[in-house]
């Protein structure tokens, strides 16, 4: 923080008067006909104006709101001065994937939630995430992305399993420290949820590709089509590598276990999104993988995954997309921004409803979902009011496609053949929060496989702290 200008600026009034800058985006009617990114990013001349809204707090609360503790004021001040290169380098000291976090971090619950001017009546917080995104895009478009320097080779080898944000970050930090890193990925493309789950219109795949390219140029080997637990076990890996990091994510889709759930036309969100994102079903028949041609789609759930599925269904040409969620609007766990966009695009929110069974035709295709109306009762363990079904409120909603987006659990492929790795009841791996050590010597874990489905930035943070502790383990050999 020492590089930050110590004195509070004298033009506070002027700063307060500066309006929060708008980020241009594609119009709703236009964007539902394409898969291009919705928000277009700050224009170059707008970014410093937005940065000017920062009041240079003596005690900048924003930093505490960022799970990886980016020195937010420092980079914002550099943007204000027009030193974009300095600003992006500042961010990259702590966050190696700013183009991604600037887009998908739930900023309104993190850094921007605690930004001081956001606390003032009628004032929005500094658009920290949007500035971060702006800088990362600017750096890339100017061809200024630097390949991080790597320390001289240590001769130690580490296998990083999974190429989501946890694995990518861990690999990057280990390579910087001079270790030889191999990423092993089950799918044919690296990126984890960033490529198979989060849609193109929220996170263009070219951005993930560019980040992966940086890793390759740092000398990280990326081997796709390698399923740890089947192609090789963790014990096999430990014969060849000095340490193993498990960043295998939460990739096991939950279903509700209600009658008719295996009818044709009912998908898990993972399948629906994988077909469209990873396999490019939106490009069928130019790409080979099909997805349902739907008219009426219902998405069950209320998180980011549900919003992504609903908005994807619209873009694939569905006439009507509704979202069925058992609580009320305030409890929707998705990012506010995404809920708003989904509404603008025409997604119908069926709040306080819950599916109880599916109805199908003679070909076994889903034709309707039967729902119950819900009321909110007493708060449950999560502090949210518990939804209670209203007796006799059964009603049918006509559908031809359903996407179940009620959450994901840990995939047991690795742990079922590695019993020495301790897991919790639901199957998540037990790892020390501070350093990612598991109960098996030489094996570390982090990201969704440890925390359960969480966020990109938390997975990155876990990858980073695991890298630090792997480094220490490789140096000292103590467990």
């Amino acid at each position: 923080m020492s590089e930050r200008d110590p004195d509070a600026p004298k033009d506070l009034k002027q700063r307060y008067k500066t309006a929060k800058q708008k980020m241009p985006e594609q119009e709703a009617l236009e964007r539902i006909r394409n898969f291009h990114e919705v928000p277009l990013g700050f224009p170059t001349e707008v970014a410093p104006t937005e940065a000017y809204r920062c009041i240079w707090c003596k005690d900048p609360t924003c930093v505490g709101g960022c799970p990886v503790g980016i020195d937010i004021p420092a980079f914002v001040h550099l943007v204000e001065k027009g030193d974009f290169l300095g600003a992006i380098r500042k961010i990259k000291e702590t966050n190696v994937l700013p183009a991604i976090c600037g887009r998908v971090c739930p900023q309104e619950d993190q850094c921007e939630k605690v930004c001081k001017i956001g606390q003032k009546k009628g004032m929005g917080p500094v658009s920290i995430g949007r500035l971060e995104r702006f800088l990362a895009d600017w750096e890339r478009s100017q061809g200024l992305v630097e390949i991080p320097e790597c320390a001289p080779p240590t001769g130690k080898k580490v296998a990083v399993v999974g190429s989501g944000p946890a694995g990518l970050t861990c690999a990057c930090d280990l390579a910087r420290r001079g270790h030889c890193v191999t990423i092993l990925e089950a799918l044919h493309k690296p990126g984890g949820v960033l490529v198979y789950g989060i849609p193109e219109f929220r996170l263009p795949k070219s951005i993930v590709q560019a980040e992966v390219e940086v890793l390759r140029r740092m000398g990280v080997e990326i081997r796709c089509n390698f399923v740890v637990g089947l192609t090789a076990t963790v014990d096999d890996l430990l014969k060849e590598y000095d340490a193993v990091f498990l960043g295998v994510g939460a990739g096991l889709p939950y279903f509700m276990d209600i009658p008719g759930e295996n009818l044709c036309g009912i998908y898990s969100a993972n399948e629906y999104l994988t077909r469209v994102n990873l396999m490019r079903a939106y490009d069928f028949p130019d790409a080979d993988t099909p997805s349902a041609r739907s008219r009426k789609v219902a998405v069950v759930g209320g998180g980011n995954v549900a919003m992504d599925s609903a908005r994807t269904a619209l873009r694939l040409g569905a006439d009507e997309v509704s979202l069925i969620y058992r609580r009320s609007k305030v409890e929707l766990p998705a990012r506010h921004e995404e809920v708003e966009r989904a509404e603008e695009e025409g997604v119908v929110f069926r709040l306080l409803e819950n599916p109880v069974r599916y109805v199908g035709d003679d070909d076994g295709r889903v034709t309707a979902v039967e729902c119950l109306k819900m009321e909110l009762g007493e708060p449950d363990a999560s502090g949210r009011r518990r939804p209670v079904p209203v007796k006799g409120s059964e009603h049918l909603i006509e559908v031809d496609t359903v996407v179940v987006a009620i959450g994901n659990g840990p995939n047991p492929l690795v742990t079922r053949v590695t019993p020495e790795i301790e897991t919790r009841k639901g199957g998540n791996i037990v790892a020390k929060e501070t350093d990612g050590r598991t109960s098996k010597r030489g094996v570390f874990a982090g990201g969704d496989i440890v925390t359960g489905a969480a966020t990109v930035i938390l997975a990155m943070g876990a990858g980073r702290s695991a890298a630090a502790s792997i480094h220490e383990y490789l140096q000292t050999g103590t467990w």
């Binding site: 399923v227 089947l230 399948e271 994988t274």
Partner: protein, 303 residues
């Protein structure tokens, strides 16, 4: 892992190639009309695969991921054998590749291996293309000390594959064709009935073939209470348990075939549901195949 040592890569990481790749077709042979045997370089898979497991293949970028059973493997040579029937675009596209060309992706071995133990007498039924995946199971069951009887069924003589291999692997081979052009004129279920009538109940039946065949094998064995294992083939995407597209109902419970199977107790499987799910994309599959054939100057209409 494996590849780095078998290929003598240096342990310093900078000079490693970026991806594993290199799934070259080292051998290609037509076994019957529209049925091709491929020997593909996939050392990691060859090293660890066991009977009953499969791989997922992508022919080229933009292509679909399709599951194919590992019919054989040679760990020393680092190759696996696939026997594939052309039924649509992806399988026909694969057949258009020449020896020496490479597949974009091969991942595996996926699924749980066949449960091999000494049962006594095991009847392995292979129908059509299902003969290929039965072969490693026959070998493994025999190696475990079972008496293995193989029943091979095909629509017609030309479509019968791997008879010689099966004769080498099994204690006894019974052949039937739908049209009687070779072996007995019967369905595999008829041959099975006769076998049971003449020799008594086998201790286990393993059936691999079209879903409809497996369904009727189970209908045949159920009244005799003969334990029956089937290998299911629903539509898959990832093959690692991530998507749930391959789910089937077994004993009233939902199972993911790619990780819980592909083999299940046939008497508990809801075959009708699985067959309906398999047909779900029929219109798009046809569109895709027709378009591909047209682009190659073949008749797009097709049967």
């Amino acid at each position: 892992m494996g590849t780095s040592t078998t290929e003598g890569r240096s342990p310093s990481c900078a000079d490693l190639p970026a991806t594993s790749g290199g799934f070259t077709i080292v051998e290609k042979q037509e076994l019957a009309p529209k049925v091709t045997r491929y020997v593909v370089r996939a050392p990691d898979v060859a090293r660890t695969r066991r009977a009953g497991q499969f791989v997922i293949v992508r022919v080229r970028d933009g292509g679909e991921r399709i599951p194919l059973t590992i019919a054989d493997a040679d760990a020393a040579k680092g190759t696996i054998t696939l026997v594939v029937q052309e039924v649509g675009k992806t399988t026909a596209w694969m057949a258009s590749l020449e020896q020496g060309e490479a597949l974009a992706d091969v991942v595996g071995p996926l699924g749980r291996p066949t449960h091999i133990e000494k049962w006594g007498t095991v009847v392995c039924i292979g129908g059509g293309i299902g003969i290929a995946p039965s072969h490693p199971i026959v070998q493994a069951m025999r190696a475990a000390g079972n008496r293995v009887v193989a029943i091979l069924g095909a629509r017609t003589k030309d479509l019968l594959i791997m008879e010689d291999e099966m004769r080498r692997a099994a204690d006894e081979v019974l052949v039937c064709t739908d049209d009687g052009s070779y072996g007995r004129k019967a369905l595999v279920t008829g041959v099975l009935e006769t076998f049971v009538a003449e020799h008594g109940k086998p201790d286990l039946v393993v059936a691999i073939g079209p879903p409809i065949m497996m369904k009727f094998v189970c209908k045949t064995t159920a009244p005799h209470s003969i334990p029956t294992v089937v290998s299911l083939n629903p539509v898959m995407v990832d093959g690692t348990g991530m998507c749930g597209g391959c789910r089937v109902t077994v004993g009233g419970k939902t199972k993911f075939v790619c990780v819980d199977g592909p083999e299940f107790d046939g008497h508990s499987v809801d075959f009708d549901e699985m067959m309906r799910r398999s047909r779900f994309y029929a219109a798009q599959e046809k569109e895709s195949f027709d378009r591909w054939r047209k682009a190659r100057g073949e008749d797009g209409g097709g049967p």
